[in-house]
């Protein structure tokens, strides 16, 4: 739509769709999170373990490129998550004799390094490519025709997004792709897609937002991040000294409902700020990149340092920046690594606890019905992403993005 000179309307439609979807899914979270917490309390270690496996496998399904490499990134993340001190015996491990590592690697430093620094380096590779000229944005508000065309896609997108968001690993990205595919299939004029169809903007944007909200459900009830974004959220909560899990709703009701309320306020702010400021946002894109990254580096440094006032974390940022850049060059996605990093210690803890409780019988994961279903689900996802036909389709979907 931007090429048709209607970037403004596209952004407006996206904002309105997101707001509606955000409102609906926030209500869903508020309604369903507490009863799900009750179920979550019945989860034993075996179920937790299996659920995390589902999440990790699903994150692979959504990574770009090679499935094997994504699997490798998950395993690497898990290993990095184990750096520090063994929880059961207190044995220090993998810390290379560095005292600062005995508490484990700093999550913020890792995330800033592999995402932030690595991204800057990638942008510096080819500085000539980034001369984007953006035309002036006119007529912001959607026309009456647009309103008519966007209503149904927004409703469908919200439903798809809410449902898919709950699935571990899936979340927002999967939801928007699913919605896009559905809208394209339903549409009378599929040829219009990619050339300015209103439904193609409204549906996925709503689904995206609904998925982003409902992916809070597994995190708030089970304490398990459903996707890398939630992994970041969990990291933030742990930094604040809050352990996410079934008890958050009962022990920290203020926090729990605060998050839910803030979701809706966030959505409201989004639409209130975005609609009048669309022109400004588009202008922001015209700031040359080389002016931005000294600021990014400075804020990253301040941010990482302020978490623990620990200078070592800043060295870790540089180290992981290098690693992240190298991995990006090798076409390895950092997102599964991050999810693995957050889940590593949890996964090990629950595996070991489950094995102790079952007296060393690995069949415990298959004998318990919930655990069995989850593992079968993980296996199914893995098989599906490895199938050649689906693989091709997946490449197509990512190309469309």
């Amino acid at each position: 739509m931007a090429r048709k000179g209607r970037a403004g309307a596209a952004l407006a439609i996206a904002a309105i769709g997101s707001f509606f979807a955000g409102t609906v899914s926030t209500i869903l979270v508020a309604v369903f999170a507490p009863p799900l917490t009750a179920i979550a309390l019945q989860f034993g270690s075996a179920e937790y373990f299996s659920l995390m496996i589902v999440g990790l496998i699903s994150s692979i399904a959504l990574a770009h490129g090679s499935v094997v490499k994504a699997l490798g990134m998950v395993v690497l993340g898990l290993l990095l998550g184990l750096v520090g001190t063994d929880i059961y015996t207190g044995t220090p491990r993998f810390n290379l004799g560095i005292l600062e590592l005995s508490d484990g690697l700093n999550f913020v430093a890792l995330a800033v390094g592999v995402f932030g620094i690595a991204e800057i380096l990638r942008n510096l590779e080819n500085e000539h490519d980034r001369d984007v000229t953006i035309k002036k944005v006119s007529n912001l508000l959607p026309t009456r025709q647009d309103w008519k065309e966007m209503t149904a896609p927004i409703l469908r997108g919200t439903a798809i997004g809410s449902a898919l968001g709950i699935l571990p690993g899936g979340g927002a990205i999967l939801a928007s792709f699913a919605s896009y595919t559905v809208e394209k299939r339903i549409s009378n004029t599929p040829g219009e897609f990619g050339k300015g169809a209103v439904a193609g903007v409204a549906g996925p944007e709503s689904a995206n937002n609904a998925g982003a909200q409902t992916s809070f459900i597994p995190m708030l009830t089970l304490g398990i991040p459903a996707n890398p974004v939630m992994a970041l959220m969990i990291g933030a909560m742990i930094v604040q000294g809050i352990v996410p899990g079934p008890n958050v709703a009962t022990e920290q009701p203020a926090l729990f409902w605060g998050i839910i309320a803030s979701m809706w306020i966030g959505n409201l702010m989004l639409i209130l700020l975005n609609l009048p400021l669309i022109g400004l946002w588009v202008k922001l894109l015209t700031i040359p990149y080389y002016m931005l990254f000294p600021a990014i580096i400075a804020f990253c440094s301040i941010g990482v340092y302020s978490v623990n006032s620990n200078v070592f974390d800043l060295y870790a940022v540089a180290f992981f920046g290098l690693i992240g850049y190298g991995l990006a060059k090798l076409r390895c996605e950092p997102a599964p690594l991050l999810l693995g990093f957050v889940l590593g210690p949890l996964l090990e803890e629950h595996l070991r606890r489950a094995m102790i409780m079952s007296r060393g019988d690995p069949m415990t994961f298959l004998n318990r019905p919930i655990s069995l279903v989850l593992l079968l689900l993980a296996a199914a996802v893995l098989v599906v992403v490895l199938l050649p036909s689906i693989r091709k389709k997946r490449d197509e979907v990512f190309v469309e993005e």
Binding site: L76, M291, K329
Partner: protein, 153 residues
């Protein structure tokens, strides 16, 4: 040709997986392994390291079949200027204090781009430092020393 040549990207990636896997495996082997019933600190990491090595081998094998795309340029200049920036901040933030340290860090990072001119960098980083001091030091009240002991304060 295609069937026999290795993709250098996959070769490096697989080798990296194997190397990291071996590293963790050797480290884990030095720890108490325990049994499946009562796993020691080394058990789970050893299993993971084994999986990583296996994946590395698969990546290398797969690399012989896929069509190769070039690695693309490497941002040497970026690496040279961006990576030391947070390290510099870490080294100087206690000694020089927040303000000069941030300014230096910003300046180093600014020259990662070939397009940056010294004049532009000076006012850009100056403004950035001023903004950060107002926001982080005064408004948010983060416990940073604005000027450190190295400057005789």
């Amino acid at each position: 040709m295609k069937s026999l040549s290795f993709s250098s990207r996959d070769l490096i990636c697989g080798a990296l997986f194997i190397f990291i896997g071996l590293f963790f495996a050797i480290q884990a082997y030095g720890l108490e392994l325990g049994t499946a019933l009562r796993m020691g600190p080394g058990y789970f990491p050893l299993v993971l390291a084994g999986i990583l090595i296996l994946l590395g081998i698969i990546v290398i094998i797969q690399g012989t079949q896929i069509e190769h795309e070039p690695m693309g340029p490497i941002a040497w200049r970026g690496l040279l200027f961006i990576l030391p920036a947070p390290i510099l901040f870490g080294l100087t933030v206690r000694g020089l204090g927040f303000v000069p340290s941030l300014f230096l860090t910003g300046m180093v990072a600014a020259f990662a781009s070939t397009r940056m001119r010294p004049g532009t960098a000076l006012w850009l980083v100056g403004g950035l430092t001023l903004f950060s001091v107002i926001v982080f030091s005064y408004a948010l009240g983060l416990p940073f020393r604005r000027f450190g002991p190295w400057l005789g304060q």
